[in-house]
Subunit: 233 residues, 2 copies
């Protein structure tokens, strides 16, 4: 198994006909660092595949190693195993706020979103599979991979993991106040601004089956009680 | 314009080959009330369409009136205007927690997710368009439609709105502790449980362009400082 080196954060994303934005170009971000930032802020993506000529969009977990996105098995990925060489679209979205404008026409949502296109491959090599699954775990629960029992051969074989290159990607971000602060509507005297939204993690809830003498490990206590995702505003 | 009556919450969702779950049937929910609950808990969906034989998944805002889902215009919906009679898939996902098990194989995510399939129509009737846009606003900011300036004829014409029936839908929910509480791994003495995640709304951030004497209306102050989404645990 060979992993690519970490990509340069200053590298530019390559625009294709699919990823180039057709409108709202001011929302476009073109640096690889912008993609990395959206990827780092979450752990669930929406995977889109074509099944019997219809789109199918399913949520699934992901992780990142270098230039490769790893996706956990799902109904959609099993469809891909049956139809290899099919293009997929993976979209990751973070909702950052409700943008309340003077006019309904300018009402909007602050968000960061990444779309990645490509032909995924099913990961077969056990070593790469372990590394990919570890990346998925690190994405939402750093430290858990070392703490919990790692997959045995049978479990590994029962897990579907997809690998998708990050080469064809686009990032779109809307941030800041509504767009009608200097419009004729500004004289209406209406309140305008943003109600921020963010994802927070609560206190860990022990499994009722857990003996009372099992201590909460520090990597789990430190995951909680703080915002789960870094949000720039 | 005719809106269907409110559907019965006890009504059953109709399973088709596309919506019937192929695995993890215990996660399936089949009542219309389960779909309504997932729809009510958010305001952003992922719309999947097929463009040039490839899937395209874009986040967009939605609202609900009776048996119809209204979707705000986007690159994807413009693609649909060019290719009418195409099936789309709309997925709405709420992430409720990170499920930490004794084994990596049982690690999971608590979530509620709905998938809706259908052939959408572009809303042309101005009266239905206004009602649909109002539903979109009510979905994330109740009261704002009456407060802000409503769309004029030109703005309404410049807005793309899609309508999608809720007839073909499936709901999947994972909730509760990890699944290995009574497995041989339970003797490992490892902590297991759930780190809950939820979406919260922060204090409203006024537009810097706002004169200081504009008061925050109560429908906006009451939106904030409390969890945005109802979460069952």
């Amino acid at each position: 198994m060979k992993h690519s080196d970490e990509p340069s954060a200053a590298a530019k994303l390559v625009a294709t006909d699919r990823t180039r934005l057709r409108r709202a170009r001011e929302k476009e971000r073109t640096a690889r660092a912008d993609l990395d930032s959206v990827l780092a802020a979450g752990f669930v993506c929406h995977l889109g595949v074509v099944v019997d000529d219809a789109p199918m969009v399913v949520p699934t977990g992901y992780g990142v190693i270098g230039d490769t996105l790893y996706l956990h098995g799902s109904v959609a990925s099993r469809s891909l195993v049956q139809a290899p060489e099919s293009v997929v679209c993976v979209t990751i979205t973070h909702v950052d706020g409700i943008v309340l404008a003077r006019s309904m026409f300018e009402q909007s949502i602050n968000y960061r979103s990444a779309m990645i296109y490509g032909i995924p491959r099913t990961v077969e090599d056990p070593e790469e599979k372990l590394a990919g699954l570890r990346a998925l775990t690190e994405q939402c629960a750093p430290g858990q991979w070392e703490y919990a029992r790692q997959p045995n051969r049978k479990e590994l074989a029962a897990t579907t993991l997809l690998a998708l290159g990050l080469a064809e990607a686009s990032v779109k971000v809307r941030t800041g106040p509504p767009g009608d602060g200097d419009s004729p509507d500004a004289v209406l005297g209406l309140w305008a601004g943003v109600v921020p939204t963010s994802v927070v993690r609560g206190a860990p809830v022990p499994d009722p089956a857990l003996p009372s003498d099992v201590r909460l490990p520090s990597h789990i206590s430190s995951m909680s009680g703080k915002p789960a995702h870094h949000v720039d505003r």
